[in-house]
Assembly symmetry: C2
Homo-oligomer: 234 residues x 2
């Protein structure tokens, strides 16, 4: 589209590029975010993007940064207990990340050295340090939380809900349910508890796991755990 004289299109910017990428991923999925389609959506030629983004990795990092930027900073009330503040921060991250279904996969594959990512980790770290956790314990506790700081636990039995399982033909053998009585048992139990639902109750699983872990953390904190002892029991 040749732009006529005087018809200046508002110029690109890193911000605009990233926002467009996020929008594209939101509506068409992460795989739809190719440099060409993104450029199309901005009415621009693919190579134009490289003036604002160093490469596709950088683009992905930027998209993740935008999402993370929406995570609310936990209420700064110094009187708050660490546990409530941590819980609130993580659940805040969860609602934001869940609002962008592609974000989970994007975060999992990033190298996580960007200011936005580090900023979120820093805030969590400070919650622990501020509550009197040793640097050592804080460190291990962050690892213990792992990706849960982003508000998601690893998928496990999950299919993406609603997708009707396109029955791909695989060369390998299909699994036979009879071979997995234990899994079938717990699946049946879960169905019995939530007859209308499909798949697992991710929200409950997340809360459950988070609480178990926070309980464990609280116990370590109370017991003045120290890594030189290299044992966890309290």
């Amino acid at each position: 589209m040749p732009r006529g004289p005087g018809v200046t299109r508002e110029p690109l910017s890193r911000e605009r590029v990233l926002r467009a990428a996020v929008a594209l991923a939101d509506t068409e999925g992460l795989d739809a975010v190719s440099m060409r389609r993104l450029a199309d959506s901005l009415g621009v030629v693919p190579m134009a993007l490289y003036k604002h983004v160093s490469d596709k990795d950088d683009l992905l990092d930027g998209m993740v940064a935008i999402v993370i930027g929406d995570i609310p900073v936990a209420g700064a009330g110094a009187s708050r207990r660490w546990r409530a503040a941590v819980r609130e921060t993580i659940l805040g991250a969860r609602t934001v990340v869940l609002a962008h279904p592609w974000a989970r996969r994007a975060i999992e594959t990033r190298t996580l050295r960007t200011p936005a990512v580090l900023g979120h980790m820093e805030r969590l770290t400070q919650l622990f340090l501020g509550a009197g956790f040793s640097a050592d314990l804080t460190h291990h506790v962050m690892h213990l939380l792992g990706n849960r700081i982003w508000g998601f636990s690893p998928e496990l039995f999950n299919e993406t809900p609603g997708k009707p399982e396109p029955v791909k033909r695989r060369t390998s053998g299909e699994p036979d349910p009879q071979d997995y009585p234990g899994i079938m048992l717990i699946a049946a139990d879960a169905r019995a508890r939530r007859p209308d639902a499909t798949g697992c109750d991710e929200d409950f699983e997340f809360d459950f796991a988070l609480d178990v872990i926070l309980d464990g953390i609280a116990r370590l904190h109370r017991s003045k755990w120290d890594s030189t002892t290299r044992t966890v029991r309290d």
Copy 2:
């Protein structure tokens, strides 16, 4: 390379294809596993692979299955305590998965509906059920373990060790350490404890997290936890 008359090469098979793919990933990394390069490594034309593997996804699944197949089945001594058996199984998975650096990423991106994957999950499930865990608790506990059942925790601060950080030019701003005093503090603390090491002690972090989680699980089990109460405290 035209094969002369009578010079019959040993034929391909799904097994041979998958093993070659694993070998290729082991030596050159997961990204090197393209249909073409894999075909090359087998002295065969790319499309030949599709007679043994339905598509690349299937190939990846098969590779993961091969790795998982190496996970030792925990000693069947029925007298074993569940905790020891679970721990042994998971650590067994860990050594196997760590032997193939690409496996972590491969597992994370699979949909996990293959017999090998389900088999490992079934064995773990049985350990809990066999120890008297309710189906309900077993279910949640599997979610709680998450990817840890494969022997890895999510990376967090990690760079791949040894890689000297190629200093990629990014369009975004580089993070400034001053902005992250908490992270810097725990990093300094970790360095002080292990002056020679680079990065985190993944093995320790894994053990640490696993034990906290197993402690939590044990407590729930003892307290006859039931999801209808929807609370974790004991």
